[in-house]
Subunit: 143 residues, 2 copies
C-alpha cells in the first residue's frame, strides 16, 4: 500500500560509476544516448546542447517539454552524473534512467528520486487561490 | 566539528514557492538572472538555452565549465524549480542559489544539497587505479 504524493515533477539523480571511458568521453555518442533516452521515456525534445571539454569530459542538457535531462562525465574516472527531471504523469524519468544505465555500461549505479513542486505548498504560497493544479501543458507554440 | 566528504560535485536543489508571476513568466529576465547567478557564484558560462512555453512557463539551462544551472517555472502557480550543480571548490552553488532567491522573491524557499560523484566509489569502480582525483580542469579549449 502507498499513497499518491501530489507533485508537479519527478527528479531522478543517478550516479554511474565504472563506465568505460571510450563511451563517456564520446561527445556525439553521449548526446545521441541522452536524446534517445528522452525519446524512449516519451518526452518531447525541445533542444539539446552538449560540450566536450579538453582534455576530458562531456557536459550537456536536453531541454524537454516536460523539463530536462543533464549529464556530466569524467572519462578519466569512469564516472557519469545524470539527472532526469520530468513533469506530468505521461513520462517516466526512470525509463530514461534505465535506458542510459544500459548504454553507459556502469559497473555500479546509484539513484534516487526527489519530488519537485509540492502541490500543497504551491497552494499555500500562491498569490491567488488555486483550485486545481495541472502540469505544464503539452508543447504547443514554444517561443 | 565536521569532516570533508571527498566528492567531485555539489548539487543544490531549490524549490521557490510564492514567486510573483510577472517575474517568473519573463523568459528574458529569468535567463538574465540565471546567468547572473552563475557569474556571481564565480562560474564560467559555456552556453545558455532558454525557452518560453505557451501559454505559461520558462525552462532553461546554463551550462557552466563547472557543470550546470537549470530552472523551470510555473508562473500560474508562483513556483520555480532550480538546480545548481557545481564541481570543484572554486565555485559555491549556494551563492547562485542565494542570488536567485533574492531575484525571484519567493515567499517560501526550500533547498538541500546532494554530493555528486563520491571519490571512494570512483576509485572502487574505475577501470584503472586512480591515485588522486581532481575536479574537471578549468575551461580551456571547449570543443
Amino acid at each position: 500500500m502507498g499513497f499518491a504524493l501530489p507533485t508537479l515533477g519527478r527528479h531522478v539523480l543517478i550516479e554511474f560509476y565504472g563506465c568505460p571511458s571510450d563511451i563517456i568521453e564520446n561527445n556525439r555518442l553521449i548526446e545521441k544516448y541522452m536524446n534517445e533516452a528522452a525519446d524512449y521515456a516519451g518526452a518531447t525534445i525541445v533542444e539539446s546542447v552538449f560540450h566536450h571539454f579538453n582534455p576530458y569530459g562531456v557536459s550537456g542538457a536536453v531541454i524537454i517539454a516536460e523539463s530536462h535531462l543533464t549529464i556530466h562525465t569524467w572519462p578519466e574516472y569512469g564516472y557519469a552524473s545524470v539527472d532526469v527531471y520530468t513533469c506530468g504523469d505521461s513520462v517516466s524519468p526512470w525509463k530514461a534512467a534505465d535506458y542510459l544505465g544500459e548504454k553507459l555500461q556502469a559497473k555500479k549505479t546509484e539513484s534516487f528520486e526527489v519530488p519537485r513542486g509540492m502541490v500543497d505548498k504551491i497552494k499555500q504560497y500562491a498569490e491567488q487561490d488555486i483550485h486545481e493544479v495541472q502540469v505544464k501543458p503539452t508543447l504547443k507554440g514554444v517561443k
